[in-house]
């Protein structure tokens, strides 16, 4: 196997048109069927979130007590809930919440985590020790418990849910960033840059970050799925986003009381969560394979 790899890489180097790195990653990503399926699912989700106003046949909070707990029909594709609201419309609107939580919580935690990890890895010493001990502490608490406790303290609601999920996933980024920094710090191009008089911030942003980007991107993509799941879990036990906001986990939670007679209340929001997480996981795997072909089987 090693041999064929050598041969292909040398042939690529020999070819005249040298593809840029991003294009190469994109090409590998596109060739990965699973990743493409994931991307299509994600695009569908984004589409649903953006155009929920237009696509949704009903108002997500409009009640219609006469038609409550109706099973799926042509009028209500996914049926209606305990207050007669259209589940399909609520799921469409719910995608907004899930995507927002996923993106913002992950964005927040990756920025904070990377900054802390970079500081810890680059400067080392006491600062490193303090930061790493803090991540140890945060990682010792299972994330769902930490999330619940934070939301209990801050109060329920979208913003606090995002903060909670963000805080609990900071340590993971912090560790990845620190680890790749520690290995990159010793590389010669960093020494060369330092010898040329570059500042620390310059070195971190221009030399180290691009080189440690791959594991971070993969982690972030996978974490978006995780964040969507966490948000739904918290809402499910009533410590996240609370009704009447159409949040998938909260919808599941109410559906639980009608499990025996109206299982569609539970089934569809669950599928929506699974759909979103599945899409993100496929994307994450695809990105990992595309960014780091060494890991690809």
């Amino acid at each position: 196997m090693e041999k064929t790899k050598d041969l292909t890489s040398s042939s690529e180097a020999g070819s005249i048109k040298k593809r840029s790195q991003v294009k190469e990653v994109w090409r590998r990503f596109c060739r990965n069927k699973q990743a493409m399926v994931g991307m299509c699912m994600l695009l569908l989700l984004i589409f649903a979130a953006i155009f929920a106003d237009i696509i949704a046949p009903y108002d997500p909070v409009e009640q219609d007590i006469i038609n409550r707990l109706k099973p799926p029909s042509s009028a209500h594709w996914f049926g209606t809930d305990e207050l007669g609201r259209d589940i399909f419309s609520r799921i469409l609107y719910g995608s907004r919440i899930s995507l927002t939580v996923g993106l913002i919580a992950v964005g927040l935690s990756s920025i904070v985590g990377c900054a802390l990890g970079a500081i810890a890895g680059y400067y080392g010493g006491v600062l490193d020790n303090i930061i790493m001990r803090c991540t140890d502490v945060l990682m010792a608490i299972p994330s769902i418990l930490l999330n619940i406790s934070i939301v209990a303290a801050l109060g329920t609601g979208l913003q606090n849910v995002m903060i909670a999920i963000g805080i609990s996933s900071v340590p993971a980024y912090c560790r990845i960033m620190r680890a790749s920094l520690l290995s990159l710090k010793e590389q010669e191009f960093v020494d060369a840059s330092r010898a040329a008089g570059a500042s620390d911030v310059h070195i971190i942003i221009h030399h180290i970050l691009p080189n440690s980007l791959a594991p971070l991107i993969v982690q972030a993509t996978l974490k978006i799925g995780g964040a969507i799941l966490s948000c739904a879990s918290m809402s499910f036990i009533g410590l996240g986003i609370v009704p009447p906001t159409p949040e998938w986990g909260a919808m599941l939670s109410t559906g639980r009381d009608f499990l025996r007679d109206a299982p569609h209340l539970t089934a569809f929001p669950g599928m929506a969560i699974m759909f979103a997480v599945f899409a993100m996981n496929l994307m994450g795997d695809g990105l990992r394979d595309a960014l780091d072909p060494k890991l690809k089987n």
């Binding site: 041999k3 064929t4 050598d6 041969l7 292909t8 042939s11």
Partner: protein
């Protein structure tokens, strides 16, 4: 062609790697003979198909992507390619064994070296008791110059040269008729290289094993090989005994290889590199594969892939201009 009986004869061997990026013509119509008790040096650049050839002999090519398309590998009068998995397993390790290029990665890191040597002994001698196998493994270690009490140590506790000794011990444990060494010294320090080579030569003489030595170091060839085959882009371009090859190199590629070696005897030496790069094996040049880099190439060379010619007794060259 030789008064010795041939232990190994490869006829028309063709191996391709079929990948998404294209088919790699790793080995093409390769013919090779090895007389019993002799050492054959297989020389060539990285990617010439040397390792593929020997792995095809042992049938340990990764499949997929490797495919043996045509050919015969006749060992002791039997075609190995026609053997089933089970009888092939009885040959591997017992009749033919192999020393790998990188001793750092060729030993299993979580198993003691003693157990790893015992494994091959017990595989090919079902009756031997565990204790006897252990004693034998210790003897093998002593033979390669490692104290027997280190049999319980793990590979990471040994240096590179020591690991290669362990691998040699493992390869010789069943007293094989053919030993294949795939660049056994490339990964080692120069001083260790000499020790390991010396050890191999000594043991080869002791056990009267035939050997195929893959290398790109012509110095090693000169030291221990009786026959030499020069490989280029999946083909043998020149084959002969050591005298013939070293004194009368005939193929332009072989000449080029010799021109790359610094000569300490001469006052001023200019190394003459072979121009160009190894061809892309998914897209090989037409005609003679060496013609794009060959200083003597004519138009004819780009059209006809020359057949192998015997220019003197046992000296074969694959070039139009000979």
């Amino acid at each position: 062609m030789n008064e010795h009986t041939n232990l190994l004869e490869i006829k028309d061997l063709t191996v391709h790697y079929v990948t998404v990026d294209g088919t790699v013509h790793a080995v093409e119509n390769l013919n090779l003979t090895l007389p019993e008790g002799k050492t054959l040096g297989l020389v060539g650049e990285t990617g010439a198909g040397k390792t593929t050839t020997v792995k095809a002999i042992m049938q340990i090519l990764p499949d997929p992507p490797a495919k043996i398309l045509t050919g015969e590998v006749i060992f002791c009068g039997e075609d190995l390619l026609k053997k089933n998995k089970k009888s092939m397993r009885k040959i591997r390790g017992k009749q033919i064994s192999m020393i790998f290029q990188d001793p750092m990665t060729s030993l299993n890191p979580v198993i003691t070296v003693g157990e790893q040597i015992m494994e091959v002994i017990r595989l090919h001698d079902k009756k031997i008791s565990k204790k006897d196998a252990y004693t034998k493994a210790c003897e093998m270690l002593e033979l390669v110059g490692i104290k027997a009490d280190r049999a319980g140590d793990y590979p990471h506790q040994f240096s590179g040269g020591m690991k290669q000794r362990v691998i040699i011990a493992m390869a010789l444990a069943c007293n094989p008729r053919l030993l294949i060494a795939d660049e056994p010294t490339t990964a080692l320090d120069v001083t260790i290289q000499a020790q390991v080579l010396e050890l191999m030569r000594k043991l080869k003489a002791k056990y009267q094993t035939s050997m195929i030595m893959i290398t790109h170091d012509l110095g090693i060839v000169a030291e221990i090989c009786d026959y030499v085959a020069v490989m280029y882009a999946g083909e043998i371009v020149e084959y002969g005994n050591r005298e013939q090859l070293f004194h009368r190199p005939s193929h332009p590629y072989t000449k080029g290889l010799f021109a790359c070696i610094p000569n300490l005897m001469e006052e001023e030496t200019t190394l003459i590199p072979i121009e160009g790069m190894t061809p892309d094996p998914t897209n090989l040049p037409t005609g003679c594969r060496f013609h794009p880099r060959c200083p003597y190439a004519t138009e004819e060379c780009s059209k006809t892939n020359p057949a192998s010619k015997e220019i003197e007794n046992g000296h074969h060259v694959k070039c139009l201009h000979i």
